[in-house]
């Protein structure tokens, strides 16, 4: 089953908390990831953890354009099987 956007948002929040080892209270789709104080390596770690959980793969070149949480969630959505 492909996950809903709300599920993906909470997965992002949970994964980011684990990787960065700090609480993120108010993350929404419009949050700019760098503004969470997550640097590019931390971001890649989060992407890797989400890829493993969802058994998907996001190509490196598409990561360069990510600014907001929404950008990442949409990339993940595209990679999830539409028929689940």
């Amino acid at each position: 089953m492909a996950m809903s956007r709300a599920d993906l948002l909470s997965m992002f929040q949970k994964t980011a908390t684990e990787i960065a080892e700090k609480e993120f209270k108010s993350i929404s789709e419009t949050t700019i990831i760098s503004e969470l104080g997550i640097d590019s390596l931390g971001m890649l770690e989060i992407v890797g953890a989400m890829e493993r959980q969802l058994k998907i793969q996001i190509p490196d070149e598409s990561l360069a354009g990510i600014q907001t949480v929404k950008d990442l969630i949409e990339l993940v959505e595209k990679r999830q099987s539409p028929v689940g």
Binding site: A20, K22, E23, I32, I33, S34, E35, L36, G37, I38, D39, S40, L41, G42, M43, L44, E45, V47, G48, A49, E51, R52, Q57, P59, D60, E61, L63, A64, I66, Q67
Partner: protein, 600 residues
């Protein structure tokens, strides 16, 4: 001059050009592999070189490369070398680092190198093209795919050891990047030094495994150029694959029976932190002969943690090979003797501040500092320590590390002043590189580092050869996860914020342990601290803006922002804030109050 390897990189590749069953394996992000035999590498480099020549690229012309795919990067880099041109490797756009500051870097490096051609890929072009508006010397944006076409004609260029091989831009100040001039002679000398004398390479069994970025000296010289000079096959992984899942590194070593790998300290820490015991199932790491560590300060604790984690998979701690090097010396300066494992020197912290490395024991706890030995220099090379008056120091006296030999580069490209400051002729008539790093030489009591793990007992490095220990650096460079950052760049970004006045910001690195205490015993990790003068009522808002700006434009997370009252940072007589003094006050907890802590 090197006698055990070919005199130029081109000739080194030609020596291997008949081998069609040995070469480089490029693992892609999806796990599929591309094998390029040394024969294919020679053919590809010749073809790409012919394309460059046909497009008017001449001997000595600089060719900027922004190519994220390791296979395309290596083949194009060698193609430019075959054409006698001077490749200038640049890093591809990283995730969400501010696009503007990426364009700045591309424009700065392209301009500083005087490159007329920039080669990139279809997927990366969109991130590079906007920068070219500010790089007027670039006449052509070339796509890698154009180099895949059949050769337009023969390639007839002769490259000599004195020729410039490539420009290695140090990950330094973005406002003024420095391109280290590396000749073919430097590459040959350093490759012989670290591959043959350092690693004791055996071309019949050794195989490298690397995820290191290829636009960085350790990845490019350590795993592409050194192995080409010495007939060693290598398996390359994308850097992003390792960061996403550190296990991939060990899996690849296991699968390909890799014998040589290298990484900065942070990577070993990441593996120790992220690897779960169940990840070790089926993993056999007994093949690892060289587990190299360099590019940033090495913490004994990190190596012990890593070792403890992977010893159950057959990892041999004696394979640890701590080392010291820098781009200005081509790559490697000192190596620990291979097979000896790492060893440490424990000295009195208080004496160290007086520039004396006085041995003590770890039992002294807080008063003791444990440093990892980085080995000794190579044949034909020398390392020495000097004080601020340029006087040579004896054993266990702390001063600036200087080095000389055939690996020392020719200086910084078109930067005579910077070159004169770092590359100086001494009384012995030799040119010495002044590293800017602080250290000492000592024979020391070599401790068995991991005697209790796995029942292994070993004695550490070679007794009798003075070992180099690194204690810090003269310059204020901040090194985080193997990357160098200049405080001035960070200070500039913060100064641009409303509410912060230019010249009222200080950035520095502090080593802290897992719970945030400042430590200098080699157990911590370097973190970025920013101190800014601002109105206290705005402290919380400004702190947040500082974090956002530094993350967006520098790509770093700030560990702690300290907002201090206006006019309270310590200053020099000319009115500039003093970084060292501010750092000391931060560490001592004597920065002016009220202090607003915002790390949570």
């Amino acid at each position: 001059m090197p006698s055990l390897v070919a005199p130029t990189l081109v000739e080194a590749c030609k020596v291997l050009a008949h081998k069609n069953d040995k070469g480089f394996v490029f693992v892609r992000a999806d796990g599929t592999e591309r094998f390029c035999s040394f024969q294919t590498i020679d053919q590809e480099a010749t073809r790409r070189g012919a394309h460059f020549a046909a497009r008017g690229v001449k001997r000595g012309d600089r060719v900027a490369l922004v190519i994220p795919d390791p296979d395309e990067f290596v083949l194009t880099f060698l193609g430019a070398i075959y054409a006698g041109a001077v490749p200038v490797p640049m890093y591809p756009q990283l995730t969400f680092k501010n696009v503007e500051s990426y364009h700045d870097t591309v424009a700065h490096i392209t301009n500083a190198s005087g490159a007329k051609v920039l080669v990139t890929t279809e997927s990366t072009k969109q991130y590079v093209e906007p920068a070219l508006a500010r790089a007027p010397k670039v006449k052509e944006l070339m796509l890698v795919s154009a180099l895949h076409e059949p050769a337009p004609g023969p390639l007839d260029v002769r490259v000599t050891p004195e020729d410039l091989a490539f420009l290695q831009f140090t990950s330094g100040s973005t406002s003024r990047p420095k391109g280290v001039i590396v000749t073919h002679g430097n590459l040959a000398a350093n490759s012989e030094a670290f591959m043959i004398h350092g690693l004791g390479k055996d071309s019949s069994v050794d195989k490298g495994v690397s995820w290191l970025p290829l636009f960085h000296d350790m990845g490019l010289i350590g795993f592409v150029i050194g192995p080409l000079f010495t007939d060693i096959p290598v398996v390359f992984l994308p850097t992003a694959s390792f960061v996403r899942n550190p296990r991939v590194w060990l899996d690849t070593i296991h699968k390909h029976r890799g014998t040589i790998t290298y990484a900065p300290n942070f990577a070993y820490a990441l593996v120790a932190k992220r690897l779960k015991d169940k990840d070790l199932t089926g993993l056999d790491l007994s093949c690892m002969r060289i587990t190299g560590c360099g590019a940033e300060p090495i913490a004994a604790k990190t190596l012990r943690d890593f070792s403890e984690k992977v010893v159950p998979a057959g990892f041999d701690p004696r394979s640890f090979l701590p080392s010291y090097g820098m781009a200005e010396a081509t790559l490697a300066i000192t190596f620990v003797k291979h097979g000896a494992g790492f060893h440490t020197d424990v000295v009195e912290k208080a004496e160290l501040t007086k520039a004396i490395a006085k041995p003590t024991s770890v039992d002294q706890g807080e008063d003791a500092q444990e440093l990892v030995g980085c080995g000794s220099s190579f044949p034909e090379h020398q390392v020495a320590i000097v004080d601020e008056h340029d006087k040579l120091l004896g054993e266990r006296q702390v001063g600036q590390i200087i080095t000389t030999g055939p690996s020392i580069c020719q200086g910084y490209f078109e930067e005579p002043e910077l070159t004169a400051a770092a590359f100086k002729k001494r009384d012995d008539g030799k040119i010495w590189l002044y590293s800017g790093d602080l250290g000492y030489l000592a024979n020391g009591e070599l401790m068995p580092p991991l005697a209790d793990i796995n029942g292994l007992r070993h004695s550490g490095g070679a007794v009798g050869t003075p070992q180099l220990y690194i204690c810090g650096r003269l310059k204020d460079i901040i090194i985080i996860r193997g990357r160098n950052f200049y405080p001035s760049d960070i200070e500039w970004v913060v100064s641009e914020l409303p509410g912060v006045r230019r010249g009222n910001v200080v950035a520095f690195g502090v080593t802290v342990d897992a719970v945030g205490n400042h430590v200098e015993d080699g157990t911590g990790e370097e973190q970025l601290i920013v101190c800014a003068e601002a109105t206290q009522s705005e402290a919380a808002t400004i702190s947040e803006q500082v974090r956002q700006a530094v993350a967006a434009q520098i790509g770093l997370s700030v560990y702690k922002v300290e907002i201090v009252p206006q006019g309270s940072l310590p200053r020099t007589s000319s009115g500039k804030p003093q970084r060292r003094k501010t750092k000391q006050m931060f560490v001592d907890g004597t920065l002016p109050k009220p202090r607003i802590k915002t790390e949570d």
